[in-house]
């Protein structure tokens, strides 16, 4: 499950239509929509609301057994240099500065994409000019918004920095923000929808791949291991030793340890002494080099 986050309902509407999202579980606020492997939360404007909404969405989804594996903030931003970052262009954010405290977030971009990248500064107020954006910050802003730093702050509480990203669409050049209407916002997101959904899909694929990559035993092998542990009535320490031995066997022989485990599980011990002996034999059978 991936959480998409937008600040505005107008930013969310094209995504809801495109992904066929329906109202999700839990309280009415923040607004949470869900679909196949995707949830979308709308926070309202601002860094703190964004952080709160992401945390709330996470908690509500986790409670229904769908712990999210990635978070993507998307929506409009302003550009300090409209020549380099023209209206409607889409950027993957590779650094985000929270201008209230100076903290910088660097998403670990471990997936391949073909979009341009840029740095983003998150402000707590509307910025009306490039000069205003530059004043009081250490590095000159490329793009500015009001939410991404909150999403990174909350998102990285739950997930690694490689699973929390922002994808921004340039909506204005910091001089004309008040002229961007809800219809304009929807239109800009609609135009960028292929880029947003493709990046979100790539992020979801990355998260799924990273979940699988550390796994040694598959579900049936884990079950066989658990059954053997229960049958032998092992202590926590003994369970840890058997778990390591089963993994060693799986990796060394490239074969499931289940037959070896099942043979021992079929003969439960009658005493502590028998249990210790059975465990020794089982560990030897699994570890023997």
């Amino acid at each position: 499950m991936i959480i998409l986050h937008t600040a505005l309902a107008a930013e969310a509407r094209p995504l809801i239509r495109r992904l066929g999202l329906k109202p999700g579980p839990g309280a009415p606020a923040p607004r949470l929509m869900v679909g196949d492997g995707t949830a979308l939360v709308v926070s309202g404007t601002g860094r703190v609301r964004a952080a709160a909404a992401v945390a709330a969405a996470w908690t509500r989804l986790d409670a229904t057994g769908h712990a999210p594996s990635a978070i993507l903030n998307t929506g409009l931003c302003g550009a300090a240099d409209s020549g380099r970052h023209p209206r409607g262009s889409v950027f993957v954010i590779n650094a985000c500065t929270d201008t209230t405290c100076g903290r910088r977030y660097y998403p670990d971009i471990l997936l391949r994409h073909s979009l341009p990248e840029a740095g983003l500064h998150t402000f707590d107020k509307v910025i009306h000019s490039p000069e205003e954006a530059r004043s009081g910050v250490r590095t000159a802003p490329e793009l500015v918004d009001m939410e991404a730093a909150g999403v990174f702050e909350a998102g990285t509480l739950f997930l690694p920095a490689s699973h929390v990203h922002a994808l921004k669409i340039v909506g204005d050049a910091l001089t004309d923000a008040r002229f961007v209407t809800a219809a304009d916002v929807e239109s800009l997101i609609d135009d960028a929808i292929e880029s947003i959904t493709a990046f979100a899909a790539a992020l979801r694929a990355f998260a799924a791949s990273s979940e699988k990559s550390g796994r040694v035993l598959d579900e049936s092998e884990e079950r066989a291991l658990g059954e053997a542990m229960d049958a032998l009535r092992l202590t926590a320490t003994q369970r840890a030793r058997l778990s390591a031995a089963a993994r060693h066997y799986r990796l060394l022989h490239d074969a499931p340890p289940s037959p070896v485990l099942a043979a021992f599980a079929a003969r439960p011990p009658k005493s502590k002494n028998e249990r210790a002996q059975a465990l020794d034999r089982l560990l030897h059978a699994l570890n023997g080099v």
Binding site: L111, A202, A205
Partner: protein, 336 residues
Amino acid sequence: MPSTEYRPPRPFSRIYVEDAARDHPETARVLRRFSRSRTVPISHYKDIFNRPRQEWRAQKESPALILAARHGEFLYDASAYTPTFGHKRFHYNALALNCVYDCAYCYLQGMFPSAHIVLFVNIEDYFAATEAALAEGPLYLALSYDTDLPALEHIIPYTRRWIEFTRTRPGLTVEIRTKSASFNRFADITPTDNAVLAWTLSPASVAARYEAKTPPPAQRLRAAAKALEAGWRVRLCIDPVLRVPGWENAYTALVDEIAEALDAGKLEDVSLGVFRINRDYLKHMKRRAAPTDVLYHPYEKRSALATYTAEEHKSMTSLLRSCFARHIPADRIHIV
């Protein structure tokens, strides 16, 4: 949402540049070399490298480069688990953190929270620190310790520069340890007695299974033979020795291959060490690294270390010592 397969980015397609390293000439050189890569300015390398819960395996597939400037310490005391070859002042430095190779048993997987590669560009500060240490007496310095420096030579030519630096410092001996096979990069350098080139070798079957992205041992051996012929001091390291099925035959065959490939009597020495690792590192490796049987072997726990039992250790080192003793004097066989 369109379904898609995970596609990792190209290795080094992203280069983070620390503010303190931004204007250094080595930084400019590396950025020219990777002109197609995306550059991201960062405040400090630890902002990227030291953060918690990183995706180690994905990073290892497509590592980013982090160009940084080192501050503070430049020389470290050698670990208690490494041989000192009889040198009283044995130190190592860290010109880079992490390695382009992907060995299943490598302690770096447990030591560093990230698989991205840090290169410290301020080599002149390392030289200055070494000069200062040399003023207090002769120094033995391992350069390729938490990395494989020669394998990074195409990115930053530090091996060559250190050899040139060493040449004019009589009290300094450097060890440059590698699994790289590209001796040709150094073939034009006149050998110096101040540098020991060390190759780590494993049986081909062990390398194929546990040493991803490394050149085959036969190629490494050819590189070592060329260096020996050219007049370099050459050390061979069979370290770590792994107790895999059929290990006796595999390691015996490796020693035979070495004896065939080069004049073993001319070797500086041979260093042998069975797999041993800090227990905390092993714990981290199980969580971070690609799972392999090496990580789940039932090692004996001795204080901070996980390693083979004393009996296993003895049988492994005895076999290798006796194999090498046919080709090289016993006093040049070091056992860790």
